[in-house]
């Protein structure tokens, strides 16, 4: 593997989200709070969300981890804000398919998330990318 392959993992947009995370912090009066760890590597995510009228009105994350896990959390919160719960969960499913290298439905606008496609080629890093998504899924599913 050459550094070219690395470039597929560390895309510019990913590094941008890592360096300048969107929605970093926590909602003080958030209705949904989810903490999740990746026990094999020590990554931690603290996700807070507000859901109003079936829509994710606000989402913020805090935590520590590698570039992939933090960038993915940043992109995830960006993607679900303003979406209804059902769409957020469909996004999550789509993302999971993408991480497994499977085909995924193309009717959703993935935006920046598309940049994470390269992670699928690095099996050891898939869990980094999926941590925040699992937290979101857990929060929204349990609410329902």
């Amino acid at each position: 593997m050459s550094f070219n392959n690395l470039d597929q993992l560390y895309r510019q947009v990913i590094m941008d989200h890592y360096k300048n995370p969107r929605n970093k912090g926590q909602i003080e009066d958030g209705t949904l709070t989810i903490d999740m760890n990746n026990p094999t590597c020590g990554d931690r995510i603290h996700l807070t969300m507000n859901v109003e009228d079936g829509k994710v009105s606000e989402a913020k994350f805090d935590g520590e981890g590698c570039s992939i896990s933090m960038a993915s959390a940043s992109m995830m919160t960006q993607a679900i804000k303003g979406k209804d719960v059902e769409t957020a969960l469909r996004l999550s499913k789509t993302f999971s398919e993408m991480m497994q290298g499977n085909d995924y439905p193309d009717d959703l606008d993935l935006g920046d998330i598309e940049a994470l496609q390269g992670v699928a080629k690095f099996p050891a890093r898939i869990k980094c990318a999926t941590l925040s998504w699992k937290a979101m899924e857990k929060g929204l599913t349990e609410k329902e």
Binding site: N5, Y10, Q12, C41, G42, D43, C66
Partner: protein, 409 residues
């Protein structure tokens, strides 16, 4: 010691990873296996495989001789007084859990203390947490010095008349610290506590003399010392093991079975319920032969030189933080570090693209990570097949990592 020659015995090291010759720097997680060990396993399964301690037939005898022969090798390897003191287990984790559940349950009561340190591996933390919770005992952590060592004054302060068990790793899998076990055991014994030693990172790399250390228990794993996975050792002084109850019951460990009562075999077999780890023990025996032929003192000195060289070379990289004892201080053959703001997972991924295998994460030592105030670190660990050339490649890899991330940032 000629590491280049020794490397020839390890077929796995002769391969390319991601287009580069493999540089394996993760032996503290698990070591690679020499042909001598692979052949011993091969021979056992091809020629001698049979269950032990029961066969009247020839294969049964051969398997039993090989299995019990491995026990004798382990006894000699750690200088135990008697072969009855050597119990085969699945590994360090199982050994420490057995000590906690058998000796611990019988001897630790409400208000008693168990003393460990901040640098322990989870396998030497959680068995004691569980025991303390169950018994209402107190788990105490000896703090660390700035250079990642333990001071005997602190140990003296922590260990009291209430302390029943002191359990400490001899060599840290993160810091590389070598703890003064003999002195700590003396302090433990003065207060009437037993000394348990986690030897997982010791047995592969230096001589262990349990009688000289005067430890009560010692735990270690085969797979970190050129042996197969799934085999480990629980050493205990006979006076303790004799009084301890088994924690696994079933075949192989019984003397007589009645409908409502049974009795146990004598030592060490009462602790080896079920068909034992026959091939694993034989493989471990072959690993001991291999290491002893080279010489444990030789290996220790060689790795010490490698560690010194690595410390020297790595510290030339700007932005490098190295944890544990400083260059020139006594330390084992591993270096744990962080490079600037680059997360250790990202460091490990870039190094892997260069064929270099290092560990990244919390190294099963979350209390220590908390003490170091980091969420994760990267670690390069060395063994007898590593060379200065491997370290040079690591340094080059890290320089590239730095450049790569300064470009993308």
């Amino acid at each position: 010691m000629n590491a280049k020659e020794i490397k020839q015995y390890f077929p796995i090291l002769d391969q390319e990873v991601n287009g580069h010759p493999l540089v394996y720097l993760d032996s503290a997680a698990t070591s690679q296996k020499p042909v001598q060990v692979i052949e011993a396993l091969n021979k056992y399964y091809r020629e001698d495989n049979s269950n032990v301690h029961r066969g009247v037939h020839t294969l049964g005898n051969r398997a039993t001789d090989a299995y019990e022969g491995a026990r004798d090798k382990v006894r000699k390897f750690i200088h135990a007084k008697a072969r009855e003191e050597i119990v085969f287990t699945r590994g360090t984790t199982t050994s420490i859990n057995t000590i906690a559940q058998s000796y611990g349950r019988a001897n630790v009561n409400e208000g008693d203390e168990i003393v460990i340190t901040y640098m322990e591996h989870h396998s030497n933390v959680i068995p004691w947490q569980q025991l303390a919770k169950e018994k209402g005992a107190v788990l105490k952590y000896v703090p660390l010095q700035d250079n990642g060592t333990v001071s005997l004054e602190d140990v003296r302060e922590m260990v009291t008349e209430k302390t029943k068990i002191v359990s400490i790793m001899m060599v840290s899998n993160v810091l590389g610290t070598i703890n003064p076990i003999k002195e700590i055991a003396e302090i433990a014994h003065e207060k009437g506590a037993v000394m348990v030693v986690d030897g997982a990172q010791t047995a592969p790399h230096m001589k262990i003399d349990v009688q000289d250390l005067n430890c009560d228990f010692l735990a270690f794993s085969g797979h970190k010392m050129c042996g197969p996975t799934g085999i480990g050792v629980m050493y205990g002084k006979k006076e303790h093991l004799e009084k301890m109850e088994p924690i696994e019951f079933g075949g192989e460990m019984i003397d007589f079975v009645g409908l409502y009562e049974s009795t146990w075999k004598e030592l060490p077999w009462k602790f080896e319920g079920g068909t034992p780890i026959i091939a694993g023990a034989i493989g471990l025996g072959a690993a001991i032969d291999f290491l002893e032929e080279i010489g444990l003192d030789e290996i220790e000195q060689y790795e010490h030189r490698l560690a010194d060289y690595a410390m020297e070379q790595l510290s030339t990289i700007e932005g490098m933080t190295i944890y544990g004892p400083l260059a020139g201080e006594k330390r084992a053959g591993l270096v744990t570090f962080n490079l600037d703001d680059v997360h250790p997972h990202d460091v490990a991924t870039v190094l892997d693209a260069e064929g270099i295998a290092v560990r990244a994460g919390h190294h099963c030592a979350q209390p220590l990570m908390k003490w170091l105030d980091v969420s994760a670190t990267a670690r390069a660990s060395f063994y007898l097949y590593n060379t200065e050339e491997d370290i040079d490649k690591l340094v080059q890899g890290l320089v590239k990592t730095k450049e790569y991330f300064s470009d993308v940032f």
